[in-house]
Amino acid sequence: MSTLGRREPERREPERREPERREPERRAGRERAERRIPRWQLLLRYLLLLAVLALTVGPFLWQLSTSLKGAGEDIYRYPPSLIPHDATLGNYAGVAKIIPVWDFALNSLKVAVANVLTNCAGAALAGYALARMRFKGRKTALVVFIMAMLVPVESIMIAQFVTMRELQLNNTLLGVVLPGCIGAMNVLLMRNAFAGLPYEVEEAAYVDGANAWQRFVRIALPSVRGTLAVVAIFAFMGAWDDFLWPLIVLSDQSKFTLTIGLNFLHGTFADNQRLVAAGTVIAVLPLIVLFACLQRSFFRGVGEGAVKG
């Protein structure tokens, strides 16, 4: 067993006791906190929370409201009203008439899903090798990923664009996906997650004759679901939200992703705020819903140290 790498007991411990102990602990903490905060302080806290809530979520609601206001309603009127008087979904149909917004959404979805799959698979594979295997050149491989992480996308995008042209992949969705399809940052995140796992179970499997692939798929991978979820969410968000790279690579309207399509809509119909608002709601709503569904595991994954400095 002298082939084992270094152990990290301090990372291992919380991982192990987490599922059974965390919830009651948290509840106890909550009760303690509630008891200790004086009532006026708690009130002040909630007032501040509500103020920040208005500041962070308010603009989205205003946009939603604008998108629902019918043609008969003056969107510039004073005093402004958040509740549409003449609520309609007509603007959503209107956007679809001017730009193929659903096709754009489908393009974005394709890019985002591809990005999630390639990032999760590629980063997990590489991360596992870097964390759990001993071989010549491991350090070098690690340095390559670190170096790649340090190169800002903005400073290589023209060369990427030229490369895509040479590969004849410019103006294709594949060209949008490829440069970010296995992020160096994700590889390092997965490496940290795998490095934090206890060795014993894998050792047992090794003794039983499980090969590296079997140990990876059956034992290691299921134990890092939290980090994997974080990688997946970031990959989806990154692809769905990206603007600069698709703007450079795509020129044909039929290939546009939502973000590029929206910019186009904004440029062409800058005067019709209702339509632009409807377009932005279409672009942001799926992501907010996705995030709302996954936020529990997301914040837990992040809290476990995935994004810690």
Partner: protein, 289 residues
């Protein structure tokens, strides 16, 4: 752990290494190489030595872009170091409903920068909500999107607004490691909230503050989307609001893109980004001594 095959690890690493080599490291090297040529999108180009760099120094747009990108760092970074920390302290306590607030404060991070940009263009429009409110309060309308300086400030505000939640989460993780006893001991000694913040919280999360400073200064320096969306593709009237990355995009893309010149700009962006990061990290080390 040993594998059964000697080249096994490399099979695991191959996809990642290939992608990273092909789309990060090779483009980086070719950017440097291109920067010494007069390559265009469709033609390979000849070696021209430092001509691109000389042209760059004499290009007034380069200096405008550099000024704006640096101003962006100066304007955005202090706010992004401090505000998210305060926000994290606000949402740290486990009080009923706090998970909802945390998730809600994160929404601007989740939304695409295009969506965020368009939302704020609508809010800051001459006839938009904020101007309507200002007028009602008797201030008169403000040309947030027409005055070049105000436009830059508005774009900075949007960047800060979008970044708050992201850095809040990073701070939240750091705050979880601050021992509660320190606060309690300090409180027993009669220190008020501000005092406790300065003597307990700030020293405890110092390294995280440096990390946030480094991350936010790098991303502020490379700002593109906010300004592009709010000022238009050419950076407002006379390009007064252009940033460096906007210049790279303008120069290097399209069928007649000047790949050589854009590459020289890219190299400058890279060097300055790296310098900025080292500066932040060094400032920290000096302080620690």
């Amino acid at each position: 752990m040993r594998t059964h095959l000697p080249f096994g690890p490399w099979l695991f690493l191959a996809p990642g290494l290939l992608i990273v080599a092909a789309f990060s490291l090779y483009p980086f090297l070719s950017t440097v190489a291109h920067s010494f040529t007069d390559a265009r999108t469709l033609t390979a180009g000849q070696f021209v030595g430092g001509a691109n760099y000389r042209e760059l120094i004499h290009d007034p747009m380069f200096w405008t872009g550099l000024r704006n990108s640096l101003l962006y760092v100066l304007g955005v970074v202090p706010l992004l170091v401090l505000l998210p920390l305060l926000l994290a302290m606000l949402v740290q306590r486990q009080i009923p409903g706090i998970t909802f607030f945390r998730a809600a404060f994160y929404t601007p991070v989740v939304a695409s920068v295009v969506v965020v940009g368009l939302i704020w263009v609508w809010l800051l429009d001459d006839r938009g909500l904020i101007n309507a409110l200002l007028e009602a309060l008797g201030f008169g309308r403000v040309g947030f999107l027409s005055d070049p300086w105000l436009l830059l400030l508005s774009a900075m505000a949007v960047t800060v607004w979008k970044g708050l939640g992201y850095y809040m989460i990073i701070y939240l993780a750091a705050l979880a490691n601050v021992p509660r006893e320190l606060h309690e001991a300090c409180a027993v000694d009669g220190a008020g909230a501000v005092r406790r913040f300065l003597t307990v919280t700030v020293p405890a999360v110092r390294s995280t503050m440096v990390l946030v400073a480094a991350l936010s200064s790098v991303s502020a320096f490379k700002v593109f989307s906010e300004v592009y969306l709010m000022a238009g593709p050419t950076g407002g009237p006379g390009g007064e609001d252009t940033t460096l990355v906007m210049l790279v995009q303008q120069a290097g893309t399209g069928l007649s893109g000047r790949v050589g010149y854009a590459s020289a700009l890219s190299v400058v962006v890279f060097v300055l980004t790296l310098g900025l990061m080292l500066l932040v990290l060094r400032a920290n080390r000096k302080e620690e001594r």
